[in-house]
Symmetry: C2
Subunit: 276 residues, 2 copies
């Protein structure tokens, strides 16, 4: 693992690191914010999964999360959204290939064998983080934006017991019923929709739900809201009697101006679960 940069930030350190990834078969870069408290011992971890076209960097510089993580003594992890670089397949569309890994393990060519973002985020990166930084991997929570909200919800529901809380900003909530989903799940996993079920938050909510609290914010003026389908997820939540707070925020859109506006509440919400 190599250090790309470390910048002091709100009393802690915003680092960027790169390492050879076995899961993705290429170098992967991630951001990690460590609050001041990490000098004295392991701190809880909040994952932030990013959306389409993003790298590890977007949320790190635009979401304004570090200040609240510093206040709460929580670390933030910012993984990349796909494998990248030489030999990694890509597509001309912004929503397939590089920057659009959808947090699945691709079984179909040309995306296999590099596009294993599920294994990367669920297994390899947590192991690397736990071995190298002062992080308490027994206390993890997860959030994300758009495609990253999809990732947060599906990881939280798919890895029972791993995350104490999950939240999301404008998540893709029902990918198997959306143009943000059908195309990508077909490409990465093939046409058999049975394999999509553990990568669809609405279907997973219908089947088993999440053993912890859920917080979701979506803007009423989100220009992609028809692709996100928050109504399907809301229905599934209500049908299951799943403890959750689902909010439609008046006038907000899909941008980081929206994400940053509600970041304080999301971090506080995770802190409550992480310190419970």
């Amino acid at each position: 693992m190599e250090t790309v940069s470390e910048n002091k930030c709100f009393g802690g350190v915003q680092g960027v690191y790169t390492h050879g990834s076995e899961a993705c078969g290429c170098p992967m870069t991630f951001g990690l914010f460590l609050p001041e408290e990490a000098r004295d011992g392991p701190v809880p971890v909040l994952w932030y999964l990013s959306g389409l076209t993003c790298t590890h960097e977007n949320a790190m510089v635009k979401a304004g999360a570090q200040q609240w993580a510093a206040e709460q003594g929580i670390a933030l992890v910012f993984p990349d959204t796909s494998p990248r670089g030489e030999g990694v397949a890509d597509d001309e569309a912004y929503d397939l290939g590089v920057g659009a890994g959808f947090y699945v393990n691709a079984t179909e060519k040309p995306w296999a064998p590099h596009y294993n973002m599920w294994d990367y985020v669920a297994e390899e990166l947590p192991r690397l983080l736990g071995n190298n930084f002062a992080l308490d991997m027994e206390r993890q929570a997860i959030t994300g934006h758009s495609m990253g909200g999809h990732g947060a919800l599906t990881l939280a529901m798919g890895l029972a017991g791993r995350f104490r809380a999950v939240s999301a900003f404008a998540p893709i909530a029902h990918p198997s019923a959306s143009d943000w989903g059908r195309k990508q799940l077909t490409a990465y996993l093939g046409a058999d929709e049975g394999t999509w079920r553990r990568h669809d938050a609405t279907l997973m909510m219908r089947e088993h739900g999440f053993d912890g609290p859920i917080l979701i914010d979506t803007g009423t003026d989100d220009q992609f809201i028809d692709l996100l389908r928050p109504e399907d997820f809301a229905q599934a939540v209500a049908e299951r009697r799943q403890p959750a707070t689902l909010r439609l925020q008046k006038g907000y859109d899909h941008s980081y101006f929206f994400v940053s506006s509600f970041m304080e509440e999301h971090v506080a919400y995770h802190a409550e679960a992480l310190y419970a």
Copy 2:
């Protein structure tokens, strides 16, 4: 004037607008954050001048200022750092030409006649803002980062009575004694250093100071600190008995991770002066 974008942000609106600039002889783009209170009437204005290589956008997405401006009911203006586009002279160096206007009116070719950033920020843009938005132009304050800190300090001291307070993050504090300054002032204003005096914060502090409070933060690990020369400005402040708070912040560097870490305090400081 045309609206490029408007995004709801912390209850207010982060807008981006473009207009034909007389001062710069080209289209100019700026960001403007209006807090919710601007719906009900004019609000005070805090200018944020950006540093080398920046556009109107960098601080708007990275400085985390809107949340504190929203809390205080203050508007934020994010001007560009130079003229741009067809017919505008440029240089291969990152620190001269486009992105590096240094907030002066160039008298030397090829920078004249487009590089009139002093007139743009001091005269044209305030007039445009006052005529088009709910802004109380009797209550203005100014801040900036690096080259923009230089701009904030020189505009504040050069326009007596205009700004109620000035602050800066890692400002270029003594350009006529720095490689971040001598090269640019020579290019834009010519070799006669007499014309540089009203664009050098340390010289202006020695000559007349500022009729209001000053707050400056600089990181002890700023990789450009030798170019900023905070020690020269600090000496001039002390010699004049100028009311000021000059802080060296341990471990912070020149990045927006530093700027955002202290933004809350800077906005609160300006709010105190704007609402006095």
